[in-house]
């Protein structure tokens, strides 16, 4: 026998650490992580582009991995550490990736940029000296309709150089 289709579901208590700060909330199980970040926490730097797991504008880091927050329920991130674009800059200023994107024109309209930055930050943590191919492969799930990608690749190289020298 199958269960009946629920019209209303009780909220579930979750605790998620976002950019180093712990948040406890009660959420509907169907709430996607991107909505949790934008609507519950008002962290609107994470963008919703295609909403179908294609464009990568919603990319965040979940326990270190770059993942698409439109294809993850907030309840699945219960207990996890999430990093969003808001967590990149420090009191000392912009993150080297953010500076490099600015200096090398790695963005035009900027819509894809938060996702690009989070994918690039995961890449540089893993491969401090990436090749063009490493960068292309890692941002292949992030769609940019302005730049033609060349300046994004330059920006990631520039940030990698600065981070290695730091």
């Amino acid at each position: 026998m199958s269960e009946t289709k629920p019209e209303f579901v009780e909220a579930v208590d979750i605790e998620i650490t976002v950019n180093g700060k712990s948040y406890q909330r009660s959420v509907e199980p169907r709430m996607l992580l991107v909505e949790f970040l934008r609507e519950e926490l008002r962290l609107t730097g994470t963008h919703i582009g295609c909403d179908t797991s294609y464009c990568g504008a919603c990319t965040i880091r979940l326990d270190g991995d770059a993942v698409k927050s439109c294809t993850l329920f907030a309840v699945q991130a219960d207990g996890a550490k999430v990093a969003t674009v808001e967590g990149l800059a420090t009191e000392a200023g912009l993150h080297p990736l953010q500076k490099a994107f600015s200096e090398h024109h790695g963005l035009q309209c900027g819509y894809c940029t938060p996702g690009m930055l989070m994918s690039a930050s995961a890449l540089l943590d893993e491969i401090p000296n990436p090749s063009d191919k490493d960068i292309k492969k890692r941002i292949a799930g992030n769609v940019c309709r302005c730049t033609g990608y060349q300046n994004i690749i330059k920006s990631v190289h520039a940030a990698a150089n600065e981070l290695r020298e730091a």
Partner: protein, 299 residues
């Protein structure tokens, strides 16, 4: 935003609890692993899902082991972890497949168990595993059973899994010496499903004559396309371009890919012919001991 319809959420502590829960809740309860196929479907409101049983954190189901005679990959191993594993080092077509699925973000979440359990005709693991004659391990309330990968998917989005059963892992028999394989798809972009994909696994004798072959076409029918005639046509040859083209025709000519946004039937058959030669050449180089990279083609 696209929202799934409301569902009840369960997160059992261990495999037995998950199996009991799935059986009790019935066929409209679905297991949730990485969610990379299921969540987009729920957002499109495909199916009447009442309950999700989150198996994503179940212990001990993500192990990857390379043994003497076989490799075993736990159902919850992600594509990214498999691509970086000792099994991928040993079996290049596993590396092609794991590293070619979608994009880095999806590979970080999606699992091999989820990929084959959905029975999605456009996914890569089931066809790739055909070339290796892999075994699917299944556990249910009644105990464990094993099914050959070729018998596992019966139709589009349809598998032999009964309500309350889960895939717990896949086992890949290690091929003999002088074997090599490749699995390559053509995609319009990384996150897109392949327009078409081809996998070929070969074994050579000491004179470089093919003594065993297993081919597969993917994303062009409701389930992976196999052909005993094409496999047999490769055996006894030296796998020249002409040999590959002749064998490819035996499996490609009768395939009638659905015309869709990714191309017409004729276009997809052309893609398959090109891929078959490319994949066959890579498999041959690898069988001869060359360590060459291969991955899905996308612009």
């Amino acid at each position: 935003m696209m929202y799934p319809a409301p569902f009840r959420y369960h997160r059992p502590e261990n495999l037995n609890a998950a199996l009991q829960l799935l059986q009790r809740l019935g066929e409209d309860a679905k297991p949730l692993a990485g969610g990379q196929t299921l969540i987009p479907m729920l957002k499109m409101r495909v199916g009447d899902v009442t309950d999700l049983v989150d198996i994503g954190r179940l212990p001990d189901l993500d192990e990857i082991q390379l043994g003497e005679s076989e490799a075993r990959i736990g159902a919850l191993a992600t594509h990214a972890r498999i691509a970086a594993s000792s099994v991928a080092q040993r079996l290049p077509s596993v590396r092609d497949c794991a590293g070619g699925i979608a994009d880095a973000q999806v590979r970080a979440r999606g699992t091999i168990g989820g990929s084959i359990s959905t029975g999605d005709p456009s996914t890569d693991w089931a066809p790739m595993l055909h070339t290796m004659a892999a075994i699917v391990e299944i556990q249910g309330p009644g105990g464990k059973r094993e099914v050959a990968i070729d018998d596992f998917i019966t139709d589009a989005y349809t598998t032999v899994l009964q309500t309350g059963e889960l895939v717990t892992g896949v086992r890949i028999p290690l091929p003999p010496a002088r074997s090599g394989g490749a699995y390559i798809g053509y995609k319009r972009s990384a996150p897109a499903y392949p327009t078409a994909a081809v996998g070929i696994q070969l074994t050579l004798d000491e004179n470089d004559v093919c003594i065993a072959a297993r081919c597969v076409l993917s994303a062009v029918a409701s389930r992976p396309v196999t052909s005993a005639a094409a496999d047999a046509a490769l055996v006894g040859t030296r796998l020249t371009e002409e040999d590959l083209r002749a064998a490819g025709e035996l499996i490609i000519a009768d395939t009638n890919p659905p015309a869709d946004v990714r191309g017409s039937a004729d276009y997809k058959r052309s893609v398959l012919r090109g891929l078959f030669l490319q994949v066959g050449a890579k498999a041959l180089q690898r069988a001869k001991g060359e360590n060459i990279e291969g991955e899905h083609n996308y612009v």
